[in-house]
């Protein structure tokens, strides 16, 4: 599972940090850092974080194109 955060939208509300602290981290007051490849066992936490983000900045999904036969 991969994530990407639209940091233009993110306002550093930190809900995601509370819900999945192994994946999201605030660097200083407002700069969000996250692990793009969700570590094992964190899927549930990440889905909850994504749903809780007040500005819907977090996209969660499988690696794009991962399902296709890549030439």
């Amino acid at each position: 599972m991969q994530i990407v955060v639209d940091l233009n939208r993110c306002q550093g509300y930190a809900q995601c940090v509370f819900l999945a602290p192994q994946v999201f981290e605030l660097h200083g007051e407002e700069a969000l850092l996250y692990v793009p490849a969700v570590p094992d066992g964190q899927d549930e936490h990440v889905l909850r974080a994504s749903a809780a983000c007040p500005v819907q900045a977090i996209t969660v999904g499988e690696q794009a194109g991962g399902d296709a036969g890549v030439e």
Binding site: G12, L33, Y34, P36, G61, Q63
Partner: protein
């Protein structure tokens, strides 16, 4: 030949060249909007789409691996992926893309999303020294992170734009000595102007960066194929075992040289609906462009063609281009999103809306040059054109509204604004030629193509 259906343009063959952020989001939007035909994505990198912003942030900080930055898909695509092969030409009359392995991909509609690449160090022999890096691709970032892990005695960053500043920030956070060399007067000056640039100067120095502005690196020195240091235009020398070349980006348009399209070093010119112009300034209806490689007219910025190296622009423009590729004329949309950008460096979130370089004046509405927070508002001929915040992101929406409504500049004080200092000063946007780093927003005027000279009558 054409297999367009009456209700729109839902079938046929669409080829997307460039399989990164813009290419991917366009492909997903095409399917979302009901495109049922053949979809092919061509990318010269051997990888599935990945996200670049973490490469100079999480990856250099050692918080994520370079190979872990893959982009999540928003939906299933049912597409053919041709990865690890570049497009080498476009035959607009025969409507096909030519690939490096000789394959010809016929299309009904084409999307150009070939983005940019890192501008290399200009002396190939020096660029090839072990220890000299750029940061654009996943492999670049992987190699640089490995070099930083080895604990170099000093890192030299050449160019203090966003990428260079983020690299310097990561080095300091790792406790590495770092020197930043910038030909302009201050870091970030090309994107944010001199007033905010001066603030960035203080920030970098406060974090222990050996910042040298107003100088250029004249030579990289090596011994036994390894970098040992650099020489500067002021005659000084520096020992360094890693150099990171952050000279800005080069647009990937060479493959379009003989296509007859308005494609050149400044990008691929298009109309507000992402339709590409020919070199004669005539709009095509089957070739579209999106992302870092596009130059498009924006009404908020006097319809000048602007090129933005911004993540948000790549996504928004890809969505508009894809929508227009499958929509009949009256249902098409213009790409009018207000540009926005973020960076994080030295533990701060730096964000902008609008185009700060499209300005003549700036006011510091909140914070002061000493603070670790700031709101700077930019104006051009009496209206607001941009705002930059540092750790004050929640204010951007407010200023975005003012930009969209062409509100007067200087702004009336907002609730949290400091009244005393709303004194506009020149925004001090330099001529891009005096910079080491390229600006991340290029205002490129009205000329659609480098090969034509347009003579405008005076007055």
């Amino acid at each position: 030949m054409s297999s367009e259906t009456r209700d729109g343009r839902r079938d046929g063959r669409i080829v997307i060249v460039g399989a990164s952020l813009a290419g991917l989001r366009a492909a997903e939007t095409l399917r979302d909007e009901g495109f049922e035909g053949e979809l092919t994505l061509v990318g010269d990198e051997p990888r599935l789409p990945y996200d670049r912003p973490p490469l100079s942030k999480q990856v250099l900080l050692g918080k994520a691996g370079a190979e872990d930055c893959g982009l999540p898909g928003r939906r299933a695509l049912d597409a053919r992926w041709r990865l690890g092969v570049s497009a080498t030409g476009l035959d607009p009359a025969g409507k096909s893309v030519v690939l490096a392995d000789g394959e010809r991909l016929p299309f009904d509609r084409l999307l150009i999303a070939t983005g940019t690449r890192a501008r290399p160090w200009p002396v190939p022999g020096e660029a090839a020294l072990e220890g000299v890096f750029t940061v654009r691709t996943s492999d670049d970032a992987d190699r640089l992170a490995t070099a930083l892990d080895a604990g170099p005695r000093r890192v030299l960053v050449i160019g203090a734009g966003f990428t260079g500043s983020e690299v310097a920030s990561a080095c300091r956070e790792r406790g590495l000595e770092v020197t930043v060399a910038e030909r302009g007067r201050a870091p970030l000056i090309g994107a944010l102007g001199g007033t905010v640039g001066d603030w960035a100067t203080k920030l970098q120095r406060a974090h222990g960066v050996d910042l040298r502005c107003g100088v250029t690196v004249t030579a990289l020195k090596g011994s036994g194929g390894r970098l040992t240091g650099a020489e500067f235009s002021d005659g000084s020398r520096l020992e360094a075992d890693v150099a990171v070349v952050c000279l800005g980006a080069v647009r990937n348009t060479e493959w379009l040289a003989d296509s007859g399209l308005a494609a050149g070093p400044r990008g691929v010119a298009c109309d507000a609906g992402c339709r590409v112009f020919t070199m004669y300034g005539i709009v095509t209806d089957d070739v579209f462009v999106a992302g870092d490689v596009a130059r498009f007219p924006h009404p908020l910025f006097e319809y000048q063609l602007i090129a933005l190296e911004h993540w948000g622009n790549a996504v928004a423009q890809a969505e508009v281009a894809a929508h227009n590729m499958v929509s009949p004329g009256p249902l098409r949309r213009p790409h009018l999103a207000v540009p926005s950008f973020w960076s994080s460096q030295f533990g701060l979130s730096v964000k902008s809306v609008g185009v700060p370089t499209f300005s003549d004046q700036v006011v510091i509405a909140q914070g002061s040059p000493e603070d670790r927070r700031l709101v700077a508002v930019y104006g051009y001929r009496g209206r607001i054109t941009a705002a930059v915040t540092v750790n004050r992101a929640k204010w951007l929406e407010h200023y975005q509204r003012l930009i969209e409504t062409a509100a007067p500049f200087p702004p009336g004080p907002g609730a949290a604004d400091r009244l005393a200092d709303l004194e506009p000063v020149p925004s001090d946007v330099p001529d891009p030629r005096v910079l080491t780093h390229g600006p991340t927003v290029a205002l490129t005027g009205h000329l659609p193509d480098r090969r034509l000279t347009l003579i405008r009558p005076g007055g």
